[in-house]
């Protein structure tokens, strides 16, 4: 799909069909519309997948159109209903939400293409259930992205948790059920015990849950209470996988790879760091954050998490597990970006949501492709695979570059601004850790493609090369798209950069 056509089409949608308000609601509800189609054609695979793809394509145009019509000054606002006096289900477009919806909207389509190849190639059962809950999860993400207040955010956060549970447990084996149990229990325990508690606490203190530039707390709330609430938010948003509440992420890797790819590199984990970013910018405000002594402590915990997770990742031989721990570490970057409480930090953190999403999803796609085509899950078995699966391994290489933060991949920009943020906040220790972590990234990611290409002779297991081919074409197509996008966003980061920048301006707006 060339850019021109898509631009034209989205302009059409934007100009002729509906207002921004209507479009925003459509974006939230569209994924659900795929479900009747999926259910209707549950016996005819091709038609069933067509339903997902069509809705996914429309959604992509919708989010692009929405982005083009979006004006940071006055985002669209929709009020659905009032649950309790003052407690609304309402949506408002603001830069971070638009950014997140763009990422999730575009990657849903790519992942759907990928799933078709993967799920069929792997002979998975219960595919109808799989596509249905996938669609529900995307609605959860979109609702979360546009949430106007903490309550709405919480509602969609929980919808996302519950709708992804059947995806994680998809295989139905003992191992999958166990993984699902860990996944669900950590996410629900943190969300109910800490997150919900913090939401109600904020409500009890301020009576205002709406995301407000500069935060909702005033001087009447004691610093002590605000500090406790901040800690509750940071740990309660378990999807951000701040250590020690990161265990669910590796556990969830029992899921089929498309799930791991979209949900655990993009939707679910990004929903977590997105929520943390939102809470930091719009509930506390970065000025207040900078004043709180606890912010530093949380920052150090997140920083330690980055380092520890990288170290653990080095020791994993299972590729998906290694990627999972790498995700834990990278999520820490975004949390750090939010907690640095500087404009560059916010900018770098938000941009990293994009950069990491595209980079990591590429890596997961590759992992899945290797599993489908070569039936390999352990890294030590992948030597020499480059000759039989060159495309996959090149994509893996590009994805790794982005995660490490090397040019020409999008990840470079976010690391750049994050490091600037650490300097602005005068957190030298954090800066050093970030750099060490980048080195560790090199150590645990780059050897995989390099050995695949250059180490073929020392292959541990003898592979009969002629039997292994590249993965099914839909999967290949998907991973090529994301790999190319990773490079494109290095040269042309403007749309996401612009959004991240306006968020940083809003965050810094309170400076005057």
């Amino acid at each position: 799909m060339s850019n021109e056509i898509s631009n034209q089409l989205s302009n059409e949608i934007a100009n002729q069909m509906m207002t921004q308000e209507a479009l925003m609601q459509w974006i939230i509800l569209l994924p659900l519309l795929a479900i009747p189609g999926i259910l209707l054609f549950h016996k005819k695979q091709n038609l069933r997948e067509a339903a997902t793809l069509i809705v996914g394509t429309i959604l992509l145009f919708a989010v692009v159109a929405f982005y083009q019509g979006f004006d940071a000054g006055q985002g669209a606002y929709v009020h659905w209903w009032e649950l309790l006096p003052g407690l609304n289900i309402a949506f408002r477009a603001e830069p971070l939400g638009v950014l997140f919806s763009l990422v999730a909207g575009s990657l849903w389509l790519v992942t759907s293409i990928y799933s078709i190849g993967y799920m069929r190639g792997h002979g998975e059962g219960n595919q109808t259930r799989f596509y249905c809950f996938f669609a529900v999860a995307i609605t959860g993400v979109m609702g979360l992205a546009f949430a106007d207040n903490l309550f709405t955010l919480f509602v969609f956060y929980e919808i996302l948790t519950l709708s992804t549970y059947p995806l994680v447990t998809h295989a139905g084996t003992d191992k999958a059920r166990h993984g699902g149990r860990v996944y669900l229990s950590i996410l629900l325990v943190t969300s109910i015990l800490f997150f919900l508690f913090a939401v109600i606490g904020t409500w009890a203190e301020t009576g205002n849950l709406t995301f407000t530039a500069g935060g909702v707390f005033d001087n009447s709330t004691s610093k002590m209470v605000v500090s406790v609430l901040l800690a509750l938010f940071v740990f309660g948003i378990g999807k951000a996988a701040v250590m020690p509440f990161h265990r669910w992420l590796p556990a969830a890797m029992v899921a089929p790879t498309p799930v791991s790819a979209l949900l655990h590199a993009v939707a679910v984990v990004k929903a977590g760091v997105f929520s943390i970013m939102k809470v930091c910018v719009y509930i506390f405000g970065i000025d207040l954050l900078a004043e709180l002594p606890i912010t530093d402590w949380l920052l150090y915990i997140a920083t330690a998490g980055v380092l520890l997770a990288s170290l653990v990742a080095m020791r994993q031989d299972n590729l998906k597990k290694r990627l999972a721990y790498s995700t834990v570490s990278q999520l820490g970057y975004i949390t750090i970006g939010a907690l640095l409480a500087t404009q560059s930090g916010v900018l770098g953190g938000s941009f990293h949501i994009v950069a990491h999403a595209f980079g990591k999803i590429t890596l997961f796609f590759c992992a899945g492709a290797i599993m489908v085509a070569a039936h390999k899950t352990e890294i030590s078995d992948m030597r020499g695979l480059g000759k039989t699966m060159p495309l996959t391994m090149i994509a893996f290489f590009i994805g790794s570059m982005s995660i490490i933060g090397l040019p020409p991949a999008a990840g470079m920009w976010s690391k750049w601004y994050l490091l600037m943020g650490t300097l602005e906040a005068e957190q030298v220790a954090v800066m050093i850790v970030l750099m060490i972590s980048s080195l560790l990234n090199i150590a645990y990611l780059l050897p995989i493609p390099l050995r695949a290409f250059f180490d073929g002779n020392r292959s541990v297991v003898s592979i009969r090369r002629d039997e292994i081919k590249e993965a099914p074409w839909p999967s290949l197509l998907a991973l090529s798209i994301t790999a190319i996008m990773t490079i494109v966003f290095f040269f042309w980061p403007q749309p996401f950069y612009g959004l991240a920048e306006s968020l940083a301006n809003i965050a810094g707006g309170a400076h005057g």
Binding site: W81, L83, L84, P85, L87, F151, F154, V155, E158, L162, P166, T169, G172, A176, R177, G180, R181, L184, S185, L188, V189, I192, L193, L196, F197, I200, G201, W203, A204
Partner: protein
């Protein structure tokens, strides 16, 4: 006609009960009982309208004025609960036909319906009356009817469960009677309004303290407050499915009404919460109940028993809300009263459908049911989510208010414990979900069909109510707030 509404509410099911004897044939009886229930429901709606128009309705039985005769007194609190009881009773009875056919001989069914109507009479009587002794009488009517219903279960253990309940229930009733007797001794009146006026003059006497203590223990036995809940799990587990739905949704709620009425309207807030250590007792027992019963629920293999223990823990939440002693706390209790009735009706009705098809409620029988009976299982899951307190279900609304009330009183450790209670609920609900959806059906199990529509539709009415009242809260929150104000207003 209109001025006779309060008595009509009680007399319709009372008169309908003996008529069932005359009709005899089970099918006729079924329709007749449904009609009687619908009439009772209509009356309760009209009552609420009348209360909204004219304020508290006072009805003197037989035209005898209050201190001499018996008086029925309906304000917003009773009217609210009457709607709850009659609506649940009506929807439940829709499912009764097919469920009972499966669970008991046709010859016994008429007796079941009679017991059901008498139980309804008793519950509505308790709600309508303004006379302390009358409360006791109706309490006994409803209790005796419940013992009968429970004993009619098709498991032999139901006799034992019924006997257990009979013993405990009688002890409770006796305590209540002693309490009322002592009050009468001190004041010379049985009318609640008179009692409320005369008790303050003598409230510093040991007799009144004793009366309060006896009454409290008696009522708490009836409403199954931990640790007086021992009768409940067996009674719910072995009763006929329909009886379980009805009892779980209504009878404990009415007992809580009695508690509220007496501690707020009769004894007064001042006496109950300052002279008596009611806060300490209710909060600590409520909390222990929430946690302990939830933990026990996790280890149950009989799913009806599991949800029975869950009921005990939910009652803990309601008692906790009363114990806080603030208006928000009381609002939370009133909300949860209504909401919990909806959750448990949905769940137990779905279980009734399951019993109809599968015949067992053992957790092992659930394997693979998610695929074979999707609608029935979905009803249980939504009800379960509501129990946990997921947003967009009614459970969330009551939890929200309860925690808000706790935070307002600065009892945040208690709030944390309440949230832990929710987490325990996840543990017992999810055990069921895992087995039903992610465990393949056993090899030798035949494939089960969806529960019959006659059960499924009523169950889904409750499921939809669970979601509807979780989204549009104006009716429930408004009424709960007003009744909480009413109870506190009377206390002044």
């Amino acid at each position: 006609m209109i001025q006779h509404l309060p008595i009509l509410q009680v007399i319709i099911p009372l008169l309908a009960a003996p008529i069932c004897f005359i009709l005899k044939e089970a099918r006729l009886v079924r329709w007749f009982v449904l009609i009687a229930n619908v009439m009772a429901f209509v009356v309760s709606i009209m009552l609420l309208q009348q209360v909204n128009l004219h304020g508290t309705l006072v009805y003197s039985l037989g035209g005898w004025e209050a201190p001499i005769g018996i008086e029925y007194r309906v304000d917003e609190l009773n009217a609210y609960l009457m709607i709850l009881v009659t609506s649940i009773s009506t929807i439940t009875i829709m499912a009764a036909g097919s469920s009972l056919t499966k669970e008991m001989a046709e010859s016994k069914q008429t007796y079941f319906y009679i017991a059901y109507l008498l139980c309804l009479t008793g519950l509505l009587g308790i709600l309508a009356t303004g006379d302390a002794f009358n409360v006791f009488v109706f309490l006994e009517i409803s209790s005796l009817a419940s013992y009968t219903m429970i004993a009619m279960g098709n498991d032999r253990r139901s006799l034992w469960a019924s006997y257990q309940y009979l013993i405990m229930g009688t002890i409770g009733a006796t305590f209540i009677l002693i309490g009322i007797g002592l009050m009468y001794m001190m004041t010379g009146t049985l009318n609640m309004n008179d009692l409320a006026e005369r008790l303050p003059e003598v409230e510093q006497t040991k007799t009144v303290f004793t009366a309060f203590a006896f009454f409290l223990v008696g009522v708490c036995l009836k409403l199954a407050l931990f640790p007086l809940h021992l009768w409940l799990p067996n009674a719910y587990a072995y009763a006929p499915s329909i009886a379980t739905v009805f009892l779980a949704a209504t009878s404990t709620k009415v007992a809580i009404y009695v508690l509220l009425r007496f501690i707020f309207s009769v004894f007064g807030f001042e006496f109950s919460f300052t002279h008596m250590p009611l806060t300490e007792i209710l909060v600590s027992l409520g909390l222990v109940g929430v946690i302990a019963a939830s933990v026990v629920a996790i280890y149950q293999t009989n799913i009806k028993r599991l949800f029975a223990y869950s009921s005990v823990s939910q009652i803990g939440y309601m008692i906790l809300g009363i114990g806080i002693g603030t208006k928000t706390g009381l609002t939370a209790t009133m909300l949860h009263l209504f909401n919990h009735a909806l959750m448990k009706s949905a769940i137990f009705l779905a279980l009734a459908g399951l019993v109809y098809r599968v015949g067992s409620v053992n957790i092992k029988a659930f394997a693979g049911l998610g695929k074979q009976m999707p609608w029935t299982m979905a009803a249980i899951v939504v009800g379960g989510l509501s129990l946990i307190g997921m947003p967009l279900t009614v459970g969330f609304i009551s939890k929200w208010y309860l925690i808000l009330a706790l935070l307002e009183s600065n009892w945040w450790p208690v709030a944390v414990l309440v949230l832990i209670g929710s987490l325990l609920a996840i543990a017992y609900i999810w055990r069921l979900v895992e087995v039903a959806y992610f465990k393949p059906a056993l090899q030798n199990n035949q494939s089960y069909k969806e529960a019959p529509l006659a059960i499924l539709i009523p169950a889904w009415i409750f499921v939809i109510a669970n979601i509807y009242f979780g989204i549009d809260t104006s009716f429930t929150v408004g009424l709960s707030e007003r009744t909480a104000e009413l109870l506190f207003g009377v206390a002044k």
